[in-house]
Structures are given as C-alpha cells and as structure tokens.
Symmetry: C2
Subunit: 128 residues, 2 copies
C-alpha cells in the first residue's frame, strides 16, 4: 500500500477529505496526482500524522507548517544548517515550556484529587 486515495487516507487518519484538501491548499501536504485524483504516498501520510500531533499540542497550522518543514529542509550550506539548528532550538524551548505548564497543571490536579479522596474517606468513616 504505497499509494492510497483520499478516502483511504481519510479513514486511516480520521481527517475528512475536506480537511486533507484544505491542508494541501495551505501547503502542508503535496500528494501526487493521477490525472485529477490525489494519490497519497508514505511521506504524505507521515506528514498528516505530524499535523495532527501538532494540532493536539495547540499549534496553529502556520506553526505546524514551520515545524514539519524543519524535518525536510534541504540544508546544504553551513549558514542554512546554523539557521535550521537555531529554529529547532527555539521550538525545543517552546515545547519544554508547554511541558512545564503540563507538569504544573498535573501537580495541581493531583493536589485537588488528594483533598477529594480525603473527604471521601472521612465521609465513609462517618457513615459507619
């Protein structure tokens, strides 16, 4: 299954055909063509997964495009490589900040949960 139709990829990914066409119009994926019809190869399917992961993390499509472009930027010159490394470092910092937000939220939720559990235990004790 090296190439698949838009319906196949839609079923496999959960994204609607409309969404896949929209992402293409935004330059996020570039499927092959057989006449008019789109044909998605492994590279396109991988990018769809990257797009969806980016969305789960709250990135806009514009940011997602920049992120996935980091993966296959054809860097030859030293200057291009340095620029690419700088961009990767910036995204890493951004992701680490998000991770820190997550850790804080998790800690707070755990603390609320602890209070809840204690109250539950007290209620059970009163009931006996």
């Amino acid at each position: 299954m090296i190439l698949c139709s838009i319906a196949d990829l839609s079923r496999a990914s959960g994204a609607t055909p409309r969404t896949l066409r929209f992402w293409e119009s935004e330059g996020l994926i570039q499927p092959k063509r057989e006449g008019q019809r789109r044909l998605y190869d492994q590279r396109a399917r991988t990018r769809v997964k990257l797009i969806q992961r980016g969305q789960r993390l709250g990135f806009s499509l514009a940011e997602i495009r920049e992120i996935v472009d980091l993966y296959d930027a054809p860097a030859e010159e030293a200057a291009q490589l340095s620029l690419l490394l700088a961009r990767i470092a910036a995204r890493r910092r951004q992701l680490e900040a998000k991770r820190a937000d997550i850790e804080e939220t998790l800690a707070e939720l755990e603390s609320v949960a602890a209070v809840c559990k204690e109250r539950l235990v007290n209620l059970e004790g009163d009931a006996q």
Copy 2:
C-alpha cells in the same frame, strides 16, 4: 493590592481589557463591581493565569472553564466527590497524552538536530 482595575489586570496579565470582558461574559471570571466598574481580586487574577496556561496548552475556552471549575467545585456528597475525581482523572490522562506528544516531538527534533550538527562538522572539516 487586594483589588485592581481592568487596566491594571490587563497590564499585569498581558490580556487586553476586551479579552477580560469577553472571558467574563463566557463565565470564566467573576470580578466584583463598584457601581459599573469591574474590580478584580486575587481569585480572579489567579483564574486569569489558569486561563492563559490552558490556552498555551491548546485547550478551548470551554475546556478551560471545565478545568478551572475543577479547582473550586463545592463537592460535599460522596457522589459529587467521586464524579469530580473521575473528571480529574480524565484530564490527567489528557495531559499525559499531550506530554507524550511533546516527548516524541522533542526526540524527533533532537534527531534532526544531530544530523545537522554532523553535517556542520563535516563542512568545517572540508574547509580546512
């Protein structure tokens, strides 16, 4: 500084007055009133920070409202406490899934960075 104006909170938080009023209209914050004017206490300011953190994590305002409401839900009965604990557990799983997405992305970016650095070293070697 137990109470502050909308302009004060706007400066302190980075959210515009329009945004603060919008969040209020959506039921995310409930400032006091002095006549017509809004007065924000510490509780309101804390909620603003929670909202902004939720936004950085890609949650919608509807989700954020559910999340911040977990912090001050007045659970008295055992049934309410159990429900609250279940909701907290669901949010925890969601946050852990996001964290896993972040770890994957970080790992991939590091691998791309490693390739870049290797190429850079090779280029420097060729130059000598």
